[in-house]
């Protein structure tokens, strides 16, 4: 049995006339890895700040571990959220952060933290202000991993990390998750990098949820059909098209939905090529409204 850790209904956060999070409904279940995906300014960080009680919602119901998170110590102590733009006390060093962490996270594993510090080659005596973007991300990643909080948030963990460090994060997270299952929410706009980590995808754009599905389902949910323009257009005529590209007499069209056996055979007979759509491509198709719009116009002209 899986327990629900977070349940949000009609959750809304407004800043003046700007609606950052617009009446979203979603649930997070125990011991899964969620991807909170979306473009910059989509509302990812706002949602995480609402879930961790840092912000107060303007409307809607929110329960985290069965309770409103804000000001409830027994809910808050089960969460870890180091924001991408986290502020640290004046003149703090990573060493100070790791020294204070065990007072706040009861499952803190100091040995694991030490190992991660070595892995990421983090200069623990350097002031936080002087760290590079990647080193700053590493501080958040190390706290997130070593805290082993039942609900852990990683806010843009890949920002500025080099390829080796990204790989370390990926490996360590999966290793540790296998041994100590917990609910992980990972927000990022670098989707291809994390695609394989995710078990569930929540895609948000302009404060609304566009997609809330199992990651495996999402991966197979769209298909790209390429070939001669006339054949492609005929084949996709009555299907939900989410993306279209063309070059001369050739066209490549992405449709939302799977093709069954008979359809695949028909496509092959028409000389069309079928290709799977990566998570990133799908998300670009779903959220890149401007891009899609311009190609549509191009075709009409």
């Amino acid at each position: 049995m899986t327990a629900t850790v977070v349940s949000a209904k009609g959750l809304t956060k407004r800043y003046g006339s700007f609606t950052a999070v617009d009446a979203v409904d979603f649930t997070l279940e125990e011991n899964r890895i969620y991807g909170l995906l979306g473009r910059n300014g989509a509302g990812k960080t706002t949602i995480m700040q609402l879930l961790t009680g840092q912000l107060f919602a303007n409307a809607g119901d929110l329960e985290v571990f069965g309770r409103t998170p804000a000001e409830h110590a027994d809910v808050l102590r089960r969460m870890c959220f180091i924001a991408e733009s986290q502020r640290y006390p004046e003149d703090f060093t990573p060493a100070h952060v790791f020294k204070a962490a065990p007072w706040f996270f009861e499952n803190w594993d100091a040995e694991f933290a030490e190992r991660l510090i070595a892995d990421f080659r983090l200069p623990v005596k350097r002031r936080i202000k002087k760290l590079s973007r990647g080193q700053l991300s590493a501080v958040g990643v190390i706290v997130g991993l070593a805290s082993r909080a039942p609900l852990t948030f990683f806010d843009e963990p890949y920002l500025g990390l080099d390829a080796v460090a990204r790989h370390i994060f990926y490996d360590r997270l999966l290793e540790d998750y296998a041994e100590h299952p917990r609910t992980v929410v990972l927000s990022t706009h670098l989707i291809d990098e994390v695609a394989n980590l995710l078990e569930h995808v929540i895609l948000i754009d302009e404060g609304r949820i566009l997609l809330d599905r199992d990651a495996d389902e999402v991966r197979g949910s769209a298909t790209t059909i390429a070939g001669a323009r006339a054949a492609v257009d005929a084949f996709t005529a009555d299907r939900p098209v989410i993306g279209r590209e063309g070059l001369g007499g050739l066209a490549s069209v992405t449709i939302d939905g799977r093709l069954d056996q008979a359809e695949r055979i028909r496509a092959a007979e028409l000389g069309l090529e079928l290709a799977p759509v990566s998570l990133q491509q799908l998300i670009v198709h779903l959220t890149g409204t401007d891009l899609a719009g311009s190609t549509e116009q191009e075709k009409a002209a």
Partner: protein
């Protein structure tokens, strides 16, 4: 099968509330230089300058230490760390508060822990300054007539009086800095402007009323009647107002 039931909240924690508040005090002292290091560096610097001045004056004039000491009565050097401590109060809310929330502290525990920290710092500074006043008097100005601590109102009514006045002043600067910053953290610039404008209106209003009623002599008479002790008790009262106000405001404040 997924059951959409909320996990019942199991209160397994052996951690007491006191611990949740105390860890905030510890968080403030992880980097001890902020509350304990820098104030003493500032005070130490001011003391070194005072000593140098005393030696220069003694060398140039050959005046006896007692006379030089009288000249230092109006030195403000003993108050030099106060400006820095206002900034510490501001930073405790603008930086450390955001960090503590990220680590899962509640706003209430954060404010209570920070208040305990402020009280501890005020006691420490006040006890040290009151003791240094006595030491300075006992050594007749560190043997060269340098008067830094035995200045202004200090050194005239005994250790306890010096302790109490320093404590009140210390509490005031810390809580004013922190309290005003909670307004910013909750209402941002709009709140700061409103607070500033209201303060100006209140002060101008009070001045207008007193001047209009020709009541300045009785105001001064009242200040004279409550004495220094009364003035510092008002200061301590203002610190408490900021402490309670800050608690109410921070409960709905959001980090930047």
């Amino acid at each position: 099968m997924t059951a959409a039931t909320a996990t019942p909240l199991v209160r397994t924690e052996g951690r007491s509330r006191a611990n949740e508040i105390w860890r905030i005090v510890r968080l403030h002292t992880v980097n001890p230089s902020i509350f304990f290091g820098i104030p003493w560096i500032i005070l130490g610097g001011a003391w070194a300058i005072t000593m140098a001045l005393a030696l220069i004056v003694a060398g140039a004039s050959g005046a006896p230490a007692d006379d030089i000491l009288t000249g230092f009565r109006y030195s403000w050097a003993v108050l030099s760390p106060q400006w820095y401590l206002v900034v510490v109060g501001v930073q405790a809310i603008s930086f450390t508060f955001s960090f503590a929330l990220g680590f899962g502290a509640t706003r209430r525990d954060y404010w209570l822990g920070t208040s305990i920290m402020f009280v501890l710092v005020a006691v420490e500074m006040a006890a040290a300054i009151a003791t240094l006043v006595q030491l300075e008097k006992a050594t007749n100005g560190w043997w060269v007539g340098a008067g830094m601590f035995d200045a202004l109102w200090y050194g005239q009514s005994g250790w306890l009086f010096d302790f109490y006045t320093s404590f009140a002043l210390q509490m005031f600067v810390l809580f004013v800095g922190a309290g005003v910053t909670t307004v910013y953290m909750r209402w941002r610039m709009k709140g700061m402007l409103t607070l500033g404008a209201s303060l100006i209106v209140v002060v101008l209003g009070a001045l207008a009323i007193i001047t209009g009623a020709n009541a300045w002599p009785s105001v001064w008479a009242w200040f004279a009647s409550i004495g220094l002790l009364g003035v510092f008790t008002i200061t301590l009262g203002l610190a408490l107002v900021c402490a309670v106000g800050g608690y109410l405001v921070i409960r709905r404040a959001t980090p930047r």
